[in-house]
């Protein structure tokens, strides 16, 4: 087992990984940028090293700096968290070269997962259902046009090197195709350095369902599926497990397919296979070759510590559970709490948190990267904390989540909690009727009027101040009268003496 683990990430995930590592008796080493000098995750580690200036490219994404930190701290292994370098095969290879164990999949399997076309092709080869589309890069716009008319509109352009929903472009009509093709190529090149696109049928009102898998050298375990359909601009906001749309036999097939698919690409450690559920059928979407943000909901319903298993597998130990032993209890939901303003189109809201109080209670878990006084810098993801609840069934879980959202107090920055409050009140959500474009389709954010009880209180105070005429006079100052020390008073008298006090000059009346 490792003695010293470097966690190459920040915020809530760094703290969460460190928690498990500590439980396993492993010494935790963290990294931070200039902007994260007073970040909470530094306090969760046994030691931390400065790895660069605020910009990610200069710190958390800078391979040299991270490896240097690992060398200086004499780490045995590196856990990359999610995002940043977690799906960077070059980084995984450099770790290996440096004699560091990378807690994640082998570089080749990672690279294959990251090449969307290759991944699709391999899965199809394994008999995994894939969405109608092509398994090669599109050559020209005419090529795209031909294929699109074969598949039938609407179609979706996807970047082969892409991820996070970037570079995906939906086309409803042939007339729009040429422009969408060019623009998607441009976005792909700018973001991933690779302009290659492929095409798939766009599935209307599909559901995003994914399966968590753990693979060691011998065995593989697939977990009950997660539903992640509540998204905005392809970023997940709310996830839950199990999916309200999946019944037992479908579940079994999803799990079996996911494990088989990952095995086929030589995958090890934790990974997730994403599917699209459409008309009762599922098709492969992509592989996420990392631990995911929403992993806690799986942990809550199965009692398995996924990070612990990751570390074990990386160290060459076995999985501590087997497929047959795995049980699912109850229902779990996660809401991602971001520093964004849902009333202003989710405008990022960096700043300082002046008040912070987490909800607690049975079945409530908060993985947070911030506390009172924390700075939310503008350079990184706006995710501050994950609010996860667990209950015996979905209805109860929704109740617990609603109560927890109301009890979650974060002041000083705007949060998307009002959005979550509104979403959980929507009848479609309560009925379990979810689809990937529901947030935009239902205009949930656009309909928000209030940022919550705290701001309503501020508005009431403001109204009272104006009504009572206080504002017209401007700020009032609570003046305290200082006492002047005798010493300086004596000096003052010295300087002022030489004049009498103002004698009343001659006056006319």
């Amino acid at each position: 087992m490792f003695r010293r683990l470097l966690i190459a990430n920040r915020g809530e995930i760094a703290i969460r990984v460190a928690r498990t590592a500590r439980e396993m008796g492993i010494r935790t080493i963290g990294v931070y940028s200039e902007a994260d000098r007073s970040a909470l995750h530094r306090r969760a580690m046994d030691e931390t090293l400065l790895i660069g200036s605020a910009l990610p490219a200069d710190s958390y994404l800078h391979i040299e700096h991270v490896l240097e930190a690992a060398r200086v701290a004499r780490a045995d292994a590196i856990h990359p968290g999610y995002g940043f370098l977690s799906e960077n095969p070059a980084f995984a290879r450099r770790c290996a070269e440096a004699g560091l164990v990378f807690v994640g999949p082998p570089p080749d399997a990672m690279a294959l997962s990251g090449d969307k076309i290759a991944a699709r092709k391999t899965m199809a080869g394994e008999g995994v259902p894939v969405t109608r589309g092509v398994d090669r890069p599109l050559r020209t716009v005419n090529d795209a046009r031909t294929i699109a008319s074969e598949i039938g509109y609407p179609v979706l352009f996807k970047a082969t090197a892409g991820g996070g929903g970037i570079g995906m472009s939906r086309v409803d009509r042939p007339a729009e195709l040429a422009a969408a093709f060019e623009s998607a190529r441009g976005v792909a090149l700018a973001n991933f350095g690779n302009a290659d696109l492929f095409l798939e049928k766009y599935l209307r009102r599909a559901r995003h369902v994914e399966v968590q898998v753990l693979l060691d050298s011998a065995d593989g375990v697939g977990f009950v599926e997660r539903e992640c359909s509540v998204q905005r601009r392809h970023q997940k906001l709310v996830e839950e497990t199990p999916s309200p749309a999946v019944e037992r036999s479908l579940r079994a097939r999803l799990i079996e397919t996911a494990v088989r698919g990952l095995r086929a690409i030589g995958y090890r450690n934790a990974g997730t296979v994403e599917f699209l559920l459409h008309d009762g059928r599922f098709t492969f979407n992509e592989v996420n070759a990392r631990l995911q943000v929403e992993h806690p909901i799986t942990e809550m319903v199965t009692g398995v510590d996924l990070v612990r298993q990751q570390i074990r597998i990386a160290a060459g130990d076995d999985l501590e559970i087997s497929q047959s032993e795995l049980r699912r209890h109850g229902h779990a939901i996660e809401c991602r709490v971001n520093a964004e303003d849902p009333i202003r189109n989710f405008l990022p809201s960096p700043g300082r948190i002046v008040g912070y109080r987490e909800p607690t209670g049975p079945g409530v878990r908060v993985d947070s990267g911030v506390a009172a006084g924390s700075l939310v810098p503008p350079y990184y993801d706006p995710l501050m904390a994950k609010l996860v609840v667990h209950a015996t069934n979905r209805k109860k879980a929704i109740e617990v989540m609603r109560r927890s959202i109301d009890a979650f107090e974060i002041r000083g920055v705007h949060t998307n909690l009002p959005f979550h409050r509104a979403l959980l009140g929507k009848s479609v959500f309560v009925r379990g009727n979810l689809w990937t474009t529901m947030v935009a389709d239902l205009r949930i954010a656009a309909r928000l009027r209030s940022r919550g009880p705290w701001e309503e209180r501020v508005a009431a105070i403001a109204a009272a101040l104006v009504a009572s005429g206080r504002v017209a006079r401007g700020p009032t100052f609570p003046l305290e009268r200082p006492s002047v020390a005798r010493w300086s008073l004596a000096g003052r008298r010295e300087r002022l003496s030489g004049g009498g006090h103002a004698v009343s000059p001659r006056r006319r009346w």
Binding site: E34, R37, G469, A472, R473, G474, P475, T476, F477, P478, L479, E480, R481, P482, V484, A485, W487, S488, L489, A490, G491, R492, E494, R495, L496, G498, H501, A502, S504, P505, R507, R508, W509
Partner: protein, 525 residues
């Protein structure tokens, strides 16, 4: 309607009824029509202004029944109680202040004998009790019908402005016309606040100018708020409107003591004294010739939200204003590198010198930030007397015996180094950042002089000069030579400026320093 602080009693007595009737009449000023005309111009009445200026219900009026004594020109038929000015006292944030508010609805707010007497009375009382005087000016000028007597009235006011100067704070808000001789009273007060669009000040008005020189100019352009805030420097503040102007007065007062024996009041803050600020290390650019805004430095050092700039639009190459440290007011002076390279010129010297002397009058400590490459060169400056005027700032800093703390952020060259509250003119604590360069002049200026021969004799003169400039910069453009001599008390990290400065002022709180006895110095004017 001004609510009086005191109610009444004894219903039913005829004489009390008569009193109430007279009081009500006095409150009407020039009558409803004139009040409406005032509002139409975007102006408030004299009493409405007092209501906004003072704490609610604190105003106590005096001399409401004073009337003029003139009989000439049919004036005996027109007697209006109050005689065009509302006077009395009230509180601002709980502290007593004396006020006069000229009433434009009565005789155009013109100043006659009794009008002046009312003002003089509250000034005398303010001097007796040691409280500030605030004047709300809105007047057509001297009451011509009273002839020379009104000039006498003005003079009585002027004399008291001078007696009170440096004893109690005097603040003038110009909320209407203020012309001719009348301008001298505000001019001698400590601060002038004008309201944009509805106020103006000038010695000779547009009509006379047109008649004498043929020049066409509007009231606003000649003597409006912006003209005086940005061009002449007569106005310290130009508020967007009257209500804002009155808010300015309240805010300004919160930094000032009531008189020259008291310390300025404290406004508690939750901004910690020990707050170290990493951003300060980023403010000064690494390249010596790149500008930055000195106010960014100031705002990071002083208590959050306490910065209150004075004379913002005039002589922008120097920045002055009030701020608080640990809740205690300080006067801040700083060169502004992003305007005119932060050089000192005539206007900047005058602007800062008066401010320094005001702070010295009223026990307000001085915090000076220095980044000055020298005085602005040029024939114009020389002919206009940069020598005389630059000396004003040097005189003011030297004369001041309030606690003085100086922080050199970058350049401090030549005579300007001495002027900006250096150790030699009795700065109490002088600090410099590692980026500071204290020198007689910059490397590019010094090298051609010192190494003239060597450069001329070198094979590649240009290259040799460049090398020498680099050497000179490395050797001399730093704070350590001055530090070695004790001209600096310490070289500090920028992020630690706030704690160090607060510590310095805290120690200096009981400072006691004197100057040789004299009637008063002869500051070059």
């Amino acid at each position: 309607m001004t609510r009086s602080a005191f109610g009444g009693s004894m219903v039913g007595d005829e004489r009390v009824d008569e009193l109430r009737r007279r009081k009500a009449q006095a409150r009407e000023g020039g009558g409803k029509d004139r009040i409406q005309a005032q509002h139409k111009k975007g102006k408030l009445t004299a009493r409405e202004r007092l209501d906004l200026l003072l704490d609610p219900g604190s105003f106590v009026e005096t001399d409401a029944f004073v009337e003029h004594r003139t009989t000439d020109f049919g004036m005996d038929a027109k007697r209006i109680p109050g005689d065009g000015v509302v006077t009395g006292h009230g509180t601002i944030d709980g502290r007593t202040v004396f006020v006069f508010s000229q009433d434009f609805t009565v005789f155009g707010g013109s100043l006659g004998e009794m009008h002046a007497n009312k003002i003089v009375k509250i000034m005398d009382t303010a001097m007796k009790v040691g409280a500030p005087v605030i004047g709300l000016n809105d007047s057509g000028g001297a009451r011509i019908q009273e002839g020379v007597i009104s000039l006498g009235g003005y003079a009585e006011i002027f004399f008291r402005n001078v007696l009170a100067s440096g004893v109690i704070p005097q603040i003038s808000a110009i909320l209407g016309p203020c012309a001719g001789g009348a301008v001298y009273s505000p001019a001698m007060t400590d601060f002038i606040i004008m309201a944009k669009g509805t106020s103006n000040m000038f010695i000779t008005g547009p009509e006379v100018i047109k008649a004498v020189t043929g020049e066409d100019v509007t009231f606003e352009d000649l003597g409006g708020a912006t003209a005086h805030a940005a061009k002449s420097g007569v106005a310290h503040f130009a508020a967007p409107d009257e209500k804002a102007a009155l808010r300015f007065v309240r805010k300004l007062l919160s930094y000032l003591p009531s008189n020259n024996v008291d310390d300025p009041p404290i406004v508690a803050t939750d901004d910690e004294a020990s707050r170290s600020d990493a951003e300060l290390s980023q403010v000064v650019p690494k390249e010596s010739d790149k500008p930055y805004d000195m106010r960014d430095v100031i705002r990071h050092v002083v208590d959050r939200d306490s910065w209150f700039e004075v004379h913002e639009e005039w002589a922008q190459n120097i920045v002055i204003g009030f701020a608080r440290l640990e809740g205690r007011p300080v006067g801040v002076v700083g060169n502004q590198p992003k305007v005119q390279a932060g050089t000192l010129d005539i206007n900047a010297s005058i602007k800062a010198a008066r401010f320094v002397r005001f702070c010295d009058c009223f026990n307000i400590p001085l915090l000076t930030f220095v980044d000055v490459p020298g005085f602005l060169p040029g024939k114009e400056q020389e002919y206009d007397g940069i020598i005389r005027n630059g000396a004003k700032l040097l005189f003011a800093f030297s004369e001041a015996t309030v606690p003085k703390v100086t922080v050199i952020t970058r350049k401090a060259y030549g005579g300007a180094y001495d002027v900006m509250c250096s150790k030699h003119i009795r700065g109490d604590f002088n600090f410099a950042w590692p980026s500071a360069e204290l020198a007689v002049m910059g490397p590019e200026g010094a090298v051609p002089i010192i190494f003239k021969k060597e450069i001329e004799e070198a094979k590649d003169s240009r290259r040799r000069e460049k090398e020498l400039v680099t050497e000179y910069r490395d050797r001399f453009a730093n704070p350590y030579i001055a530090a070695r001599m004790g001209y600096l008390d310490d070289v500090i990290e920028p992020s630690e400026t706030r704690p160090r400065v607060i510590d310095a002022f805290s120690v200096l709180r009981t400072k006691r320093e004197s100057r040789p006895a004299k009637k008063h110095g002869n500051i070059p004017l």
